[in-house]
């Protein structure tokens, strides 16, 4: 699954650690999501969407689309 987490984070001027703290997860989790190596759980995806004021489908896009 592709995502725009890195660009959204950059727009806010946040470090990976800052985003990890906001989401309550480890920095490695943010790194893995940004690289597309880890698909977040649904609750975490909702928290990410809420944090950036977007819908989940605005941030995460399935590979086949």
């Amino acid at each position: 699954m592709r995502n725009s987490l890195a660009s959204l984070r950059a727009e806010n001027g946040w470090s990976q650690q800052r985003l990890a703290d906001e989401l309550g997860v480890s920095r490695q989790t943010v790194i893995s999501i940004e690289k597309g190596r880890f698909d977040p759980s649904l609750p975490l995806a909702f928290r990410i969407a809420r944090l950036f004021g977007r819908r989940i489908e605005d941030i995460f896009v399935p590979d086949e689309e």
């Binding site: 309550g24 997860v25 490695q28 790194i31 977040p40 975490l44």
Partner: protein
């Protein structure tokens, strides 16, 4: 869907805290106390079993001294609220490390079944006797090794 955690409300510390009623206290003192009590109990058992018949008291003391450190460590692991440790994630279940752990544990379980199955088959035909203690130790070592390697591979993949 959002669950609260102790770590978000309680000041975190290097060695964490444990909840006693409505209060939070440092986890180390009760861990030391519990570990020493458990080691003392094992020492009494060791003395009662007369592991060294000529010196039962000395053998009991030796057992207590040998087990106090690991039992204090084990007590801390069992008592401490992990969310009160410095650097702990508020929601570790959503972190990628939880995914690595799950995959490693699942793979290790399959490995144990495979190794013990093959081992049983081999021993059924081989003309050798194997002690139960050695067999169980080998199973534990296989489990540790399998989990460790699989977790390291998951971590490397990111």
């Amino acid at each position: 869907m959002d669950g609260g955690s102790a770590g978000s409300a309680v000041a975190r510390s290097k060695w964490g805290k444990v909840r006693v009623g409505s209060r939070w206290i440092a986890a180390v003192p009760p861990a030391i106390a519990l570990g020493m009590v458990a080691a003392g109990a094992l020492g009494v058992v060791g003395a009662a079993l007369e592991l060294v018949p000529e010196h039962p008291v000395v053998s009991g003391i030796a057992v207590a001294l040998a087990t106090v450190s690991p039992l204090v460590g084990l007590s801390w692991v069992l008592l401490v609220d992990r969310s009160t440790l410095e650097g702990a994630a508020d929601r570790p279940e959503d972190s990628v490390e939880a995914s690595w752990y799950e995959k490693a544990a699942s793979g290790a379980f399959t490995d144990i079944l495979l190794v013990t199955g093959l081992g049983c088959t081999a021993l059924a035909f081989a003309p050798i006797e194997v002690e139960g203690l050695h067999t169980l130790m080998a199973v534990i070592l296989v489990a540790f090794a399998s989990f460790g390697v699989r977790y390291a591979v998951q971590r490397r993949k990111g």
